[in-house]
């Protein structure tokens, strides 16, 4: 399994990695903004899951999400962001996010979102 972690905070990416170790993910890749993420996807994709921050320099998370969906890349995406307003959540879901996690979060809460998202993606793929 390959998971792409996109967040401009290295601290947050490390927190993601610690959570992912707990669910036995095989491999992770990282990007600090949307532009870098597109390069990583092109070079190392496809990924089984993407954890995606919203507010980032160069290209923000919602723009990246719209871009990858336009490219017909349907990697499951969990937005992990401080953007907590209902309007933002709706915007992300409409843009193609599969799940949404508001920062701050507990490791267990993020782990639960990841497992839930992967389970739904697997069920959808086999349907």
């Amino acid at each position: 399994m390959k998971i792409l972690l996109v967040d401009d905070s290295r601290t947050m990416r490390n927190i993601f990695k610690r959570v992912i170790v707990g669910i036995n993910a095989a491999e992770t890749a990282e990007a600090g903004d949307g532009v870098e993420a597109l390069q990583v996807i092109e070079q190392s994709g496809p990924f089984d899951l993407m954890l995606l921050d919203w507010n980032m320099p160069n290209m923000d998370g919602i723009t990246l999400l719209k871009t990858v969906r336009e490219k017909k890349i349907f990697t499951p995406v969990i937005m992990v962001t401080t953007e907590a307003e209902k309007s933002r959540i709706i915007e992300a879901i409409k843009a193609g996010a599969n799940n949404y996690m508001v920062k701050p979060f507990t490791p267990d809460a993020l782990k639960g979102k990841i497992e839930e998202t992967l389970k739904k993606a697997k069920a959808s793929a086999t349907a």
Binding site: S9, R10, N55, T82, T106
Partner: protein
């Protein structure tokens, strides 16, 4: 400043400490900040725009920055380096982002954080009162300073560092 814009910060600070830092803390009474000079050497600054304009500043000492960075990252952080400032920026980001969801009006945007280290001053939006929210921990006090205006005319919020031989910013 409307108290409806301050209470969300109290809730958000509690939430960040309880959820991701998990160290004992005590939030004090908010007060009007009289002195424009930050009390401590490290500031994490977030700009807000949209329904409100202004900025939020997380101001703290190096000692406390190291403790909070260690608490967030889960690893001992021994010096004020990029890892430390990255963690402080993320804490500022979570406090500001968590607060804005409870503002009376919507459509508010936050900037990526900027971090300044050393002797500095913060250029708050002109003419706005700055509300200071103290938060005490075993490693010292951090202060969350809030200067917001409920209008739709962009107000520049920036920071300048003075006499500092160590300046670090997260590149926006």
């Amino acid at each position: 400043m409307n108290v409806k814009y301050i209470n969300p910060f109290l809730t958000s600070i509690r939430n960040v400490f309880d959820t991701m830092l998990q160290i004992p803390f005590n939030i004090g009474k908010p007060s009007l900040k009289e002195d424009p000079v930050p009390r401590y050497d490290i500031s994490g600054i977030i700009g807000l725009s949209g329904g409100v304009t202004g900025c939020v500043v997380l101001n703290l000492s190096e000692e406390l920055a190291l403790q909070l960075a260690s608490a967030l990252s889960g690893e001992k952080v021994n010096k004020v380096d990029e890892d430390c400032t990255d963690a402080i920026g993320e804490i500022a980001n979570m406090i500001a982002g968590g607060a804005k969801k409870d503002f009376p009006g919507g459509n508010n945007l936050i900037s990526v954080p900027s971090i300044v280290i050393g002797r500095h001053h913060v250029s708050y939006p002109r003419g706005l009162p700055v509300i200071s929210i103290p938060c005490d921990t075993s490693a010292g006090r951090l202060v969350v300073e809030v200067a917001l205006k409920e209008n739709f005319v962009p107000v520049a919020a920036g920071v300048a560092a003075e006499n500092s031989d160590r300046k670090m910013r997260r590149v926006p």
